[in-house]
Symmetry: C2
Subunit: 349 residues, 2 copies
């Protein structure tokens, strides 16, 4: 674990001693950046600058060890009489290269913490709010409450005038939403990537399986795109996380919507870099197995082994052979495209 | 305007007389389907079946004419003393082909209406809620309030047991979120499509311009993906809406994230169908102009006319020549790819 480098900000509270510092080294938790919210309003320095706090500022509210318990323990020990302030991990600021975790992730972690005075933390939250707002910082009033709906509910508009009889001055204060931003809001669609991965020589395909799937059933890897990622980057990251394989070239093949709940599957072909084909399932716990398959195995599976997850394979399928998703699934379409030469221009041998 | 066909449900309230019926024909507004929400809780028939109402059920709350005023008038006449219940247009159910609007859109419109008793509509909302829940329907309790956060705020979990001392029966009721769905929630990313459109013969490219852009500056068309659309469908729809051009083949080229605010640009190449190249800007008001450009014009623009929107064109640029986005923009990359033969395998002539 390298120590913080000069590109890091100065630590604000060198006395912090939390799980985070125990885990990552005492010096490191001091660098964690925290955004504070009071009744959903963010703490700001001014209308254009968000204010940050240090992890040590919120330990009186979230505890020195907010992530020490496993998810299983947290669920088993659920107690509705104890108020648990919300903490959200926002991401890593990679501009600070000094902090490295698991030899792979780098940067300063950012968190959002709800410091709304509530339940057993009321007093501590009020104390922190007082401290944070003493020097001119403030919790920015939300704009939603000042606006009215337009365009059948898809847009919020902040009107410049209020003709309510009780209002003394009908002119309302300036609002940034009146210029530049149109405040349209569409239903959300979550982009996901799904990818047929081929070996560096283009002659084998990587498939994976989850524990709950029927025996011999494999499919292409898949996962959610993260904020600020391109599809190409998401494909490389997900394949590394799930299988340990390192990809180079990525081309996008086609897409398929899954509107329930709200997904868009973006189908791609990824090619392993030479020397990057070793499988390692330890980065996350998603797959039970991942394996390289030959063109022969794939062709046979696409011919006799296709079915939905809850269905039987076709009559020609022989127990022990590879099973894969049906033609209606983009996974099947990607496999078929690759076997037929989409990635390389010539069919797999 | 064709009359409702037999595949439509029976109208519930033939007496409705609203703007909608005036606009679309008196019979048609009767078919509009409405979902009701009370304090964000949806009206349901049972835990697996959502209940619908008719437009006539909510006219006492939203008025018979909720969309009669223009956005400009709505903003100008804003009155904070008048509570305006939220109405959201959800989409068209295209299985009902009898209803056609503007010779193009078809299906039964669905809306969501907030019937929370509030302000001047308190009484009418209470009346409607009483009527709707009289026969066993109910407003489904939200699950968010029953759950606790896990995984650094990215997941909500519904624990099966509550160890609070005041709770008599620690076993909590069954919850569908405990099986199958993991209730993970990631920051939102909105997929957008951006497309270089080529003519049916592959020799010209369609570009458009917005009014606020500098003179002679054009770019590729673009727009948001809608729920349940594939990228390929979104490309065809957006190009038709903005330019009137009908596309056939669509291939995806590459992607570029724009994390502020939360967009993913998905770059594609679309090819017009023979006879589908006529430009019509009347479907929406987004573009000031759209035009077909030759390979020669495009090559010259890519060589001397590239710049950011606020910047000057290069020194070799001659006033009146085509100006286009810089190399850092995916629009430029798409144009360059097409001119160099991405779509057809050979360069444009």
């Amino acid at each position: 674990m390298p120590l913080p480098q000069p590109d890091l900000p100065e630590p604000a509270h060198p006395e912090v001693d939390s799980m985070l510092s125990r885990k990552f080294g005492k010096e490191i938790a001091n660098y964690f950046s925290v955004l504070l919210f009071n009744k959903l309003e963010p703490l700001v320095n001014s209308s254009t600058s968000i204010a940050t706090a240090r992890f040590a500022d919120v330990t009186s509210i979230v505890g020195v060890d907010p992530f020490s318990r496993t998810e299983e323990d947290t669920i088993a020990e659920y107690n509705s009489s104890v108020y648990v302030p919300q903490i959200i991990f926002l991401g890593l600021d990679e501009r600070s290269e000094g902090l490295v975790y698991k030899d792979h992730y780098k940067g300063v972690p950012w968190f959002a913490v709800d410091v709304t005075p509530k339940g057993s933390v009321t007093e501590e939250c009020e104390k922190l709010i007082k401290k944070m707002t003493a020097d001119g910082k403030e919790f920015s009033k939300g704009r939603m409450h000042l606006s009215l709906p337009a365009q059948e509910g898809f847009k919020r508009t902040c009107p410049p005038k209020d003709i309510a009889p009780a209002v003394q001055n009908p002119e309302r204060p300036p609002c940034a939403t009146r210029t530049g931003i149109s405040n349209l809001c569409f239903p959300r669609t979550d982009p996901t990537v799904i990818m047929a991965v081929v070996s560096a020589d283009g002659q084998r395909m990587l498939l994976g399986r989850q524990k709950r799937w029927p025996p011999y059933w494999y499919s292409t890897l898949a996962g959610f795109l993260e904020p600020a990622e391109s599809v190409e980057e998401a494909v490389r990251r997900e394949v590394w996380e799930e299988s340990g394989v390192h990809l180079g070239r990525v081309v996008i093949h086609s897409t398929q919507p899954w509107p329930y709940p709200a997904n868009l599957m973006i189908g791609a072909i990824g090619q392993a870099i030479p020397g990057g084909e070793d499988i390692h399932l330890g980065h996350d716990a998603e797959l039970e197995d991942a394996k390289w398959f030959t063109a022969e195995e794939l062709r046979e599976a696409l011919r006799v082994g296709t079915s939905g997850l809850g269905e039987e394979a076709g009559p020609e399928y022989k127990e022990g052979g590879l099973r894969v998703p049906p033609q209606t699934a983009i996974a099947n379409q990607l496999m078929t495209a690759v076997v037929n030469g989409f990635a390389s221009g010539t069919s797999m041998i």
